[in-house]
């Protein structure tokens, strides 16, 4: 798979990362290197290997369904830039 500068820009846009033309070109070279690495690995025959979804072969531990948290709003909001009526305030967003 070949990556283009516009692919890089699209991904940056989706990730909310601002990059200029030069950075996009530089990132393209680096990402292409990673893609080459993946391609090399994909050449290995893995048809008999079961896919893993996690690097460690351990399983998820579960928590009993119980409320263990108490209200600490005041503490958490003490580090928020702006709060009002118990709400966190953010720049207006209307889709």
């Amino acid at each position: 798979m070949t990556l283009s500068v516009s692919d890089v820009k699209r991904v940056a846009d989706l990730a909310y990362i601002e990059i200029d033309e030069d950075e996009a070109k530089e990132t393209l070279i680096q990402l292409s290197g990673i893609f080459n690495l993946i391609e090399t690995m994909q050449a290995v025959d893995t048809s008999t290997v079961e896919p893993m979804s996690h690097a460690q072969s351990v399983v998820q531990r579960l928590r009993e369904d119980a409320v263990t948290e108490t209200d600490q709003r005041e503490l958490y909001q003490s580090i928020a830039p702006q709060v009002e009526a118990g709400l966190y305030l953010v720049p207006q967003v209307i889709e």
């Binding site: 579960l62 928590r63 369904d65």
Partner: protein, 479 residues
């Protein structure tokens, strides 16, 4: 051209756990803003999600109820998008290997049975809430809802009309409540529907371009939104246009759908397995254990009502529309075996009617099943007429007397006259006093018969057993 509407539904059912899916915060509805939002829900750096066993258990329950495959391992994935009410910048959801795969739901539409296939049901967390009232040009964020466990239940595009879509949604709604995994409260957003709608020329196989209508929070809106959307698409196609794949919103005030976002600016969510969560293993022993706790399902119970009690498919469907009603029916019938139809009629009629009228749930019904059974037993043994029973019912409902059925009948003097000799005496008296009507009847005036019945009932204040009066009068006049 004849058009065929094709519908698939995505339902978000909020799971009835005490705590959130990845944190120990409470999920109780209506708390003051951000008082149920912990460091995990706020996505502060360094925190890790820990999966709630109760949420997984509820997902498995649904899977077992619809005959689906339970995936093990099952994988959690990050769905990436930016919005202030999603502080992590991604929603933890499932992509590959959801907990529930496949399954089927039987629906009834106009007396016909139809199967709707499920694609999958996956666990995910809800987002917070954005309030756009004016906070000096800013938005307010409440993260109490963030992290609330949801089960997204996705159907195949198997429905062909808004009526089928509503029947499916109602059946699923009843099922999640029946098995106790979701409270089904649509006003509070515990059960939300998205509808995928497309149209195609009848008789063709290829699916048309679909539009997704988001956040339909009532069955009525679901029906109206689909009807509007199908009409809109058909009009465009008949005018030679083409449908653009997009997400639309239903405006209930205007009864129309409008564009929310098109496919071009749709998010590419860049799903990938969440490295914070390990693969979820669901041992068969756990599945078996959950299976033991499942109640008899609505479908099975409906079939049993039809085969064991000879109830109609309609009666059986109504009685199994909620577990509370079915349990009420079973409990009543237990006291009064072999009177299924009588019990069904009263529960579907008087009881349901009063509950609806007063807007209360079956669980808060002031008349217990055994009290109802006592009343129905008095109809069955001829002590009171059906009409008098309604009077007694009203007294019981309103808590008059001590709710002892026999005491109410006695106090109100509603006991039916069923003694043959007493009735004969009454009939004789009325016949003697109405010679003209007797003559009229014998001359072929059928109406005179009813007038005579009326006189007899009036003379007894409606207490004479109507069937006996009828038979006796016929015997006297015709015999």
């Amino acid at each position: 051209m004849q058009w065929e509407i094709v519908i698939g539904l995505e339902v978000h059912a909020q799971l009835s756990t005490q705590s959130k899916i990845f944190s120990g915060s409470s999920t109780a509805y209506g708390a003051a803003p951000n008082t149920q939002a912990s460091v995990i829900d706020l996505a502060l750096p360094g925190v890790l999600p820990v999966l709630n066993k109760g949420a997984v258990e509820r997902a498995i329950k649904l899977g077992l109820s619809v005959g689906a495959k339970i995936n093990s391992p099952s994988i959690f994935a990050r769905k990436n998008y930016f919005y202030p009410d999603l502080p992590k910048g991604y929603q933890i959801s499932q992509y590959e290997l959801p907990v529930v795969q496949g399954g089927n739901i039987q629906i009834q539409v106009d007396g016909a049975e139809k199967n709707v296939r499920l694609t999958r049901a996956h666990l995910e967390e809800d987002a917070g809430k954005s309030l756009h009232e004016d906070f000096h040009g800013m938005s307010g964020i409440d993260l109490n809802r963030a992290g609330t466990p949801l089960l997204e239940i996705v159907s195949e595009p198997d429905m062909r009309s808004s009526a089928e879509a509503v029947a499916y949604a109602k059946t699923l709604h009843a099922l999640v409540r029946w098995i106790g995994i979701c409270d089904g409260n649509m006003q509070e957003g515990s059960f939300r529907c998205d509808a995928n709608v497309s149209v195609r020329p009848r008789g063709t196989e290829k699916l048309g371009t679909r539009c997704e209508i988001k956040n339909l929070n009532s069955f009525r809106f679901l029906e109206k939104a689909i009807d509007y959307e199908a009409r809109r698409q058909i009009e465009i196609l008949e005018d030679g246009g083409s449908i653009r794949q997009e997400t639309r919103l239903y405006d209930a005030n205007k009864d129309e759908t409008r564009t929310m976002r098109t496919k071009e600016d749709a998010n590419d969510y860049r799903y990938f397995p969440d490295p914070d969560l390990l693969p979820l293993e669901i041992p068969q022993s756990w599945i078996d254990q959950i299976k033991q706790t499942l109640p008899e399902l609505p479908q099975a119970r409906r079939d049993r009502y039809i085969s064991a009690f000879a109830l109609s498919a309609y009666d059986a469907s109504v009685l199994t529309s909620s577990r509370e009603m079915a349990d009420y029916f079973d409990a009543t019938l237990k006291q009064l075996p072999a009177q299924a139809k009588l019990c069904a009629n009263w529960i579907m009629g008087e009881i349901s009617g009063q509950l609806n009228k007063e807007g209360i749930e079956m669980t808060a019904c002031p008349i217990t099943p055994s009290q109802l059974a006592e009343l129905l037993a008095r109809i069955h043994d001829g002590t009171i007429s059906g009409k008098a029973a309604k009077t007694v019912f009203e007294s019981m409902w309103n808590g008059e007397l001590d709710k002892n059925v026999d005491a109410i009948i006695e106090a109100k003097g509603l006991k039916q006259i069923s003694d043959d000799s007493a009735i004969e005496k009454l009939v004789d008296q009325v016949l003697a006093a109405n010679a003209q009507q007797v003559a009229d009847y014998r001359n072929g005036k059928e109406k005179a018969f009813n007038s005579l019945i009326g006189q007899i009932m009036k003379a007894t204040q409606g207490k004479a057993n109507p069937a006996q009066v009828n038979a006796m009068l016929k015997k006297k006049l015709d015999g």
